[in-house]
């Protein structure tokens, strides 16, 4: 009787299909990933339990940082040149084609429109360091509302619907500035606001 040999299987397995799948998914996520453009303003948003996600596109963001500065940003690159021309014409500030192109890549800005050409001439590293005083919101020189109304008009023209207005305030920002921005928008009959927050867990009932 022959000796019974234990059946030996090789412990190595064919990983090729798994690798194929893994790389397919890596490629998919790499291509669909949209990298957030670099922000010129640091805003640390407070947390809330709201689970509504910010829409992917057509978002207008008004940022308020802790030094009461107001920044304006729009994500639709298509309408941004149109927007820049409209607001520039209103304040008779001219922009070159190069500056307009750079403006479309700008996530947000916080300078009066008169200083905007100077800001656009800077490289992105220089812009990080440049101090931006914020978009003026006082009643004599209210440029923020001009940007918002011009952007809404441009969005209507291009997409037939208004942009989603989000307010991104820093946790340490003061309430009067935020309420002032809200009031300015209410004057233009914009009554629904979306405050950008971080997600935090819902408190358990009974706590």
């Amino acid at each position: 009787m022959p000796k019974v040999k234990p059946h030996r299987t090789s412990p190595s397995l064919d990983m090729t299909p798994m690798v194929d799948l893994a790389f397919l998914l890596v490629t998919f996520f790499m291509l669909t990933a949209k990298f957030a453009p670099q922000e010129d303003v640091v805003v640390d948003t407070p947390a809330s339990i709201s689970e509504i996600r910010l829409p992917e596109s057509h978002v207008m963001v008004i940022s308020i940082d802790k030094d009461k500065r107001v920044f304006f940003g729009l994500d639709d690159a298509k309408v941004k040149e149109d927007l820049l021309a409209t607001v520039g014409a209103k304040y008779s500030v001219g922009f070159t084609a190069e500056q307009a192109k750079r403006f479309t890549g700008l996530a947000s800005f916080g300078v009066p429109v008169q200083q905007l050409p100077g800001l656009l001439n800077l490289s992105s590293e220089e812009r990080q360091k440049a101090s931006q005083p914020g978009v003026p919101i006082d009643s004599v020189n209210n440029q923020l509302i001009e940007w918002v109304t011009a952007a809404q008009r441009a969005e209507y023209k291009a997409f037939n619907k208004p942009a989603y207005i989000a307010i991104r305030g820093d946790g340490a920002a003061d309430v009067p500035t935020v309420l002032k921005v809200i009031k300015l928008l209410q004057d233009k009959d914009i009554n629904t606001f979306n405050l950008i927050t971080d997600l935090e867990g819902k408190p358990v009932a009974g706590n």
């Binding site: 090789s10 412990p11 190595s12 397995l13 990983m15 090729t16 798994m18 690798v19 893994a22 790389f23 998914l25 890596v26 996520f29 790499m30 669909t32 990933a33 949209k34 957030a36 948003t45 407070p46 947390a47 809330s48 339990i49 709201s50 689970e51 509504i52 996600r53 910010l54 992917e56 308020i64 989000a166 305030g169 820093d170 946790g171 340490a172 920002a173 003061d174 309430v175 009067p176 935020v178 309420l179 809200i182 209410q186 004057d187 009959d189 009554n191 629904t192 606001f193 979306n194 405050l195 950008i196 927050t197 971080d198 997600l199 819902k202 408190p203 706590n207």
Partner: protein, 173 residues
């Protein structure tokens, strides 16, 4: 790792054979890297979108007659002060009526409990939120969040009046 090294042919002075290389390569490090990248891109793409909290403000009132009077029994006022302090009182503040001002905080046993109790006593309560100039935006978001947590449907964000400010100062809380 997953491959067992073939035992080296130790023939000594045997026939010289062409060395046979295995066609299999160890794919483990590559797979590790692939999954690492996969996890990275998956997490960054889905969690990068921030959340938003909706805030509806009343439309501008053009006609004074459209305004509705709020009953004092349904009113509940929350005042936000500096240093993360909360003050609250029942009813309406009038020139001759001074409501009893109490202080609270943002903890789970603080304003949340008060709001729950107030709502149980009277489900029609309307909460008026008045942030002081010294309060921060975080306080404002936190109190709006408390409204969502306690299921308070009717609330309004209002500007603080000088009477309210005097009440905080006079209370010594």
């Amino acid at each position: 790792m997953a491959e067992i090294q073939q035992k080296a042919d130790s023939g000594g002075g045997g026939k010289k054979r062409a060395k046979k290389m295995s066609t299999k390569i160890d794919m483990t490090p590559m797979v590790d890297l692939a999954f690492l990248l996969l996890t990275f891109f998956m997490l960054t793409s889905t969690f990068s979108k921030p959340t938003v909290m909706e805030l509806n403000m009343p439309a501008k009132i053009r006609d004074e007659r459209e305004k509705t009077e709020l009953k004092a029994s349904n009113a509940f006022t929350v005042l936000l002060g500096g240093d993360n302090k909360i003050y609250y009182y029942d009813g309406l503040l009038d020139n001759n009526v001074k409501p009893d001002l109490k202080s609270s905080d943002f903890s789970a046993d603080g304003i949340r409990k008060v709001l729950f109790e107030r709502k149980q006593r009277n489900p029609n309560v309307v909460v008026m939120i008045k942030p002081d100039d010294t309060s921060t935006y975080k306080n404002m978001v936190d109190i709006l969040d408390e409204m969502n947590i306690t299921g308070q449907k009717k609330y309004a964000l209002m500007e603080i009046s000088t009477n309210d400010q005097d009440l905080i100062k006079g209370s010594g809380l």
